[in-house]
């Protein structure tokens, strides 16, 4: 049997159409399997447009208090304690005022302020440089302003660590599961694996359950949490009444963590 060019093209065309049609129909059938189910937020979940934290430095200036808050955060999120500085993982940590705000250099800055400690954490920037550089969108900005980490997607390239001007990101050089095995883990929250970057997620899991972040709860009013987009929120009231500073605002990252001196 011979076949001419015209017939060959006809058969090829028809089989292509059937093939593509078949794939599409198959995909449609698969989707319908979960048609009846849907998802929603918890009705009591905290929702906002731009979450922020205001740090009242008059209440939080000694290293011990900040360490206690960091401890509460790290316990909640199963952050391992590592003594070796190059490998340490921190979501919230104390730093000297003069190191946290190097641009505020003032020859005659009050000694008390100069040597006081400030709590540092991810600034959940409105214009986050870490999100721009992430090649897999493992770090991304949620609609409520939280700069989130999706650990499932992180490939450990560490571009975000290079991009973050605040040093808020830590890399897991070792399997955190094998570190401090004696410490009781929080069974409600996962760990991380070796080779991913992690940082403060503003307790998205607590917000979803209607609770404020763990650090805010532990700070007894030293940290104030709220929505910058809501003019009646507590953070906006506090910011209206006090002079506030932010870390490296000149970079244009629009950080959402504000510091007031008292």
């Amino acid at each position: 049997m011979s076949i001419n060019r015209r017939e060959f093209l006809k058969i090829a065309g028809i089989s292509t159409v059937l093939g593509i049609g078949g794939i599409t129909a198959g995909a449609g059938l698969r989707k319908n399997a979960v048609e009846a189910s849907s998802v929603m937020r918890r009705p009591d979940a905290l929702t906002g447009k731009r979450w922020a934290i205001v740090v009242n430095l008059s209440k939080l200036k000694d290293e011990e208090t900040i360490k206690r808050i960091a401890e509460a955060c790290h316990r909640e999120h199963n952050v391992p304690h590592i003594d070796y500085k190059n490998h340490e993982i921190k979501w919230l940590w104390p730093e000297k005022f003069e190191h946290a705000f190097p641009e505020q250099e003032d020859e005659y800055l009050a000694e008390e302020i100069k040597h006081s400690y400030v709590p540092l954490l991810c600034n959940h920037c409105d214009n986050p440089p870490c999100v721009r550089v992430c090649p897999t969108q493992a770090t991304f900005k949620r609609a409520d302003g939280i700069v989130m980490m999706d650990m499932h997607r992180c490939i450990g390239c560490r571009f975000c660590m290079a991009a973050c001007p605040y040093g808020a990101r830590s890399f897991n050089y070792k399997d955190p599961r094998k570190l401090d095995p004696k410490v009781e883990k929080n069974p409600e929250f996962p760990l991380r694996m070796k080779g991913v970057v992690e940082k403060c997620t503003l307790c998205y899991e607590r917000l979803a359950n209607g609770l404020e972040p763990a650090c805010v709860k532990e700070s007894n009013g030293g940290l104030i949490f709220g929505d910058l987009d809501d003019p009646h929120s507590e953070v906006r009231k506090v910011l209206e009444e006090h002079y506030s500073i932010r870390r490296k605002p000149e970079l244009g990252t629009k950080p959402s963590v504000y510091y007031i001196l008292g």
Binding site: A33, S38, V39, R41, R42, A45, F140, M148, M151
Partner: protein, 134 residues
Amino acid sequence: MYDGWKIIIGIIIFLGLIAFPFYYDMGKATVTPDPKIDTPEIMKLPESERKCIEPKDYMKREHMQMLDDWRDWVVRDGSTIFIASDGKQYTMSLQNTCMKCHSNKKEFCDECHNYTAVSPYCWDCHIEPKESES
């Protein structure tokens, strides 16, 4: 045929190697996976409520797709409640929902995963329930 015996010996060796996995396993009884769903947590439930969030058949076939959807909905969209096809609501969480009932990872998850030689990386990060060594 030139060097016929060489070719025939070559073919025999080739077939022997190719068939090795088959006769290596011959006569060995294959154990069909049998995931256990009789954990104390499940047995505590009244008979009528002893069912998974979706039909068993669907869960067997699609649980991996469902878990994948769940993680995107929770981590990326911030929704935490799953409304199943029968209208019941569940918190979407592997650690806090699935494994609360299925507290026997070894007999439930690993049973089939080992049989089919898949190794999902859930437990690299997520904490499995504590199991009594038995």
